[in-house]
Amino acid sequence: MKRETLDAALREACARESGTIPAPPIPGRVLERAMAAALAGRRAGQGASRLKAALPGALAAASVLAAVLALAVTPPSYRAGEPLATALVAGLPENPAAAFALFLESAARP
């Protein structure tokens, strides 16, 4: 006989195997635990969503901080007599990674 026959017999054997065990009613304490676990899962999910929502703000703050740090070390575009706020805004990088690179570059200068 061929593999198909054997596979069909194995499938039949497994189907009959699972049919021998009926699912009992859900014990009350199990249902309570399941509901509590789902609630905890939902809260964890909401926490992750809030963190994700707060991330752009945190990145913007990091960007400003990095720009200030870069200017504090060696202000690349600051000229004496110019208002510092103008230089800060002009030197504000588009993203934190660029700001951080600028900061490192400035810090490395003698």
Partner: protein, 191 residues
């Protein structure tokens, strides 16, 4: 048996309340029998603890449905959670029990066939009985693989994901399982 849709299950569980309860009931009805048998393949898991371990696995799975990706099949994900739970329980158990199956345990549940296919039905039934007996003699790890392949129809990759095995290992074990069972029941494994 009703196979719950993974996405609907997840949505209902996340909705909570009565919808959540009904979702857990669906999960329980469909998966309790399967996981109960699956748990029996861990020979270190005592009989007395098996049903608790199954209930615990279902509670864990239900509580983690928020992390389930509905674009992927539910079975490998759920079996993975259950396999971890059963492995932990078997390790924690101080004694080892033999969970041999009773090959004649469900004789009464088999309705006799009728009509001209009667002889063929009997032959199929007899072969399936002998396959069950041969499967019961396989090592636990092979019984798990056989169950996932022939009960749930999972392919080697999905079985590997569920049991934490490389797909190539699963394919090789399936080959050996067919060979062992085929020899035991008198069916040559010819691809």
């Amino acid at each position: 048996m009703e196979e719950p849709d993974g996405k609907a299950l997840r949505d209902d569980a996340l909705a909570g309340g009565e919808r959540g309860k009904r979702a857990f009931e669906r999960l329980w009805r469909a998966w309790w029998p399967r996981l109960c048998w699956f748990a029996s393949t861990w020979r270190g898991l005592p009989d007395a603890e098996r049903e608790d371990a199954v209930a615990d696995a279902l509670v864990r799975a239900y509580g983690s449905l928020g992390a389930y990706d509905p674009s992927r099949p539910l079975a490998p994900w759920l079996y993975r959670i259950a396999a971890r739970r059963f492995s932990d329980a078997a390790r924690a158990a101080s004694r080892h029990s033999t969970l041999a199956l009773d090959p004649a345990g469900d004789e009464a549940s088999w309705d006799p066939p009728s009509g001209e296919d009667h002889a063929r039905e009997l032959e199929t039934r007899d072969l399936a009985d002998r396959c069950r007996a041969a499967m019961a003699r396989l090592p636990g790890a092979d019984r798990r693989i056989a169950w996932l392949r022939f009960r749930d129809g999972l392919d080697a990759s999905a079985i590997g994901r569920a049991l934490g095995l490389p797909a190539g290992t699963v394919r090789w074990r399936l080959h050996l399982i067919r060979k062992t069972v085929g020899t035991a029941v008198g069916v040559d494994d010819e691809a």
